[in-house]
């Protein structure tokens, strides 16, 4: 047996004897024991922690500073969690006063302040905002290990796998590819098969028409670009409190020319629930809605998902 392997074995034994070690975007985090007081700086971490039965002691839930606040499905669940300010510039003072023993940060958004966060408490950085479904699932397992609930995390993932397998049965084989896009009052941003929602819908058995462009997993497209893509199925993510740009586009005769519109296959989902939760709880909701909306069957959308 080679000595390096022996050394590694020894190291693993050592770490399991003294605590736990979890890999993340900035190296690996060694904890003496499972974390009890966790601060979560992205909604996906809040979702994952709650799914694991851990209530965070603080979270960047603020609707101040331009954030839209927690997604609707998470609002009631997170109402009692103290807010630590905006996601881009969380208040270090409030985090310190919460005495966390673990901070969960986004590797991109909070990348620049990682050293400062690491000084307050052991900090794990994950690709939440830019992660795909697989990335987010790997994070669920890692977070489970960090808070000492690895078994629960594995169970969550297994349940999710089973649920998605069941949902996949609904998926019509050889259904045409879809274009999925977040619509705001001024923009139409397509989510490719490397984005979170884009990869999620592919995992359920529908094909995404778009791949990433360069390193951009999501990008803006105009009505003309959409007409050129001419998808057979259109999946829109909109917020009920906004008037999306597609309302404007519907007045254009070209909108009626889109195959998806002619086939009556335009599905509308809540953009906060679908693109900003990104955790096990959100996924459960998303699978249910994907079936309920009849998107998977490639059938006309049910009333709740038809949009205005």
């Amino acid at each position: 047996m080679n000595p390096r392997f022996l050394f590694l074995c020894g190291l693993t034994a050592l770490s399991s004897a003294f605590g736990l070690s979890v890999k993340h975007e900035r190296g690996s985090l060694e904890l003496k024991g499972p974390a009890k007081r966790v601060v979560a700086l992205e909604y996906s971490f809040v979702d994952t922690l709650l799914a694991l039965g851990v209530t965070p002691v603080g979270a960047a839930l603020g609707s101040q500073g331009g954030d839209r606040g927690a997604p609707p499905y998470l609002r009631a669940l997170s109402a009692k969690i103290p807010a630590t300010g905006s996601r881009a510039q969380p208040s270090l003072e409030i985090m310190l006063s919460l005495r966390p023993d673990l901070i969960l940060a986004d590797a991109f958004v909070q990348g620049e302040i990682y050293p400062q966060l690491a000084k307050l408490a052991p900090t794990a950085a994950f690709q939440s905002r830019r992660g795909s479904l697989d990335d987010l699932n790997a994070q669920t397992l890692a977070i489970g290990q960090l808070v000492g609930r690895e078994a629960a995390a594995r169970q969550l993932l297994a349940d999710q796998q089973a649920l998605m397998r069941k949902a996949k049965v609904f998926s019509k084989k050889a259904a045409p590819a879809f274009v999925a896009a977040v619509v705001t009052p001024k923009s139409f941003t397509v989510h490719s098969n490397q984005s979170f929602v884009g990869s999620f819908l592919e995992a359920l058995g529908r094909k995404n028409a778009l791949g990433p462009k360069g390193d951009q997993t999501q990008y803006e497209v105009s009505l003309e670009g959409l007409v050129a893509l001419n998808p057979q199925t259109l999946v829109l993510f909109a917020a009920p409190d906004e008037t999306p740009i597609t309302q404007e586009w519907k007045k254009n005769p070209l909108w009626q020319k889109l195959s998806a519109v002619q086939r009556g296959r335009v599905y509308v989902f809540d953009r906060d629930d679908w693109t900003r939760g990104r955790g096990p709880l959100a996924l459960k909701l998303m699978v249910a809605q994907a079936i309920e909306s009849r998107l998977l069957q490639d059938a006309a959308p049910s009333a709740a998902f038809r949009g205005q």
Binding site: G65, G66, D67, R68, T184, P185, K186, S187, K213, Y219, E220, V221, S222, L223, E224, G225, L226, V227, A228, L229, I245, E248, K251, N252, P253, L254, K257
Partner: protein
Amino acid sequence: MNTHSVSPRRPRLSRQVLTFCGAALLLLLALLASLALGASQIPLAQVTRLLLIPDDSTNSLVVHALRLPRTLVAGLAGAGLGVSGLLLQGVTRNPLADPGILGVEAGGAFAILVMVVFFPAAPAVLFVPAAFVGGALAAAAAYGAASSVGLTPLRLALSGVAVASLLGAATRAVQILFETRAQGALFALSGSVAGRTWEQFWQVAPWLGLGLGLGLLLSPRVNILALGEDVASSLGTRTARDSALITGLGVLLAAGAVSVVGPIGFVGLIVPHAARALTGVDHRLSLPLSALLGAALLIVADIAARLIDRPAETPVGILVAAAGAPFFVLLARHIGRGRA
């Protein structure tokens, strides 16, 4: 008013005819190319046929419902910005007076941002008046600060920069505090003609058409003002009133353009310089030429913006700024040499 006696020396007539024909041809070609190119390619012959005889094919709809309004908006805004720059440069006798540098565009854009964020219910009809007010205030601030001791290009450029950074900080503050509500404005704030509709075209067409027409009518007066206040007064012109009128017109044209395409810098700087280089300093000639060249410039830039990153769109204002800013640097180098 006898304008002929003060008409500057003109190049030969035949050359001017040639220049105008060339500019018109350029504009026509740009227009056709703009209708043909984009996320999907339509052959030129088909474009001309569809333009005259629309049918209900997708291509026909693309031309009539998407590319035609967009192209016309770009052309109109480009013409407005070009003429706005020419008027402002003429009235201030300052080669750096451009609606972008003066802060007029930043003011107009900020006014629209404020309207979008704080009065989401305000109708789109109010965009031009709001942008006019914002632009006029910004111009007044930049102008007022710079003019007390004489409007040198340096002072004007510096006060424009200060007004623009003040408005920039205010814009940034609004964006940080109201990120979601302002988010959509980021694309609009950077200057773009993507997705402009007939509705938006008709919203600004009266303002810009009126402005361009008035500009043409007033161009002899700009000639007189451009000679300097002393000469103009001695010729019996009410200089203060005329300056105010022409400056207002310049701001109106810029505001009209900003309210539909967002701030697009340097069109109002490059185009008048090019037009003057081609026709000489007579505004009766350089003004229509500025309109033609401005329209052609923005349409061509918009074609590039569509093609660079298909099917995604690049805001045309950013492209124009990146291409036009080096010209500003050259001009600054040139003017600085004269110990302005």
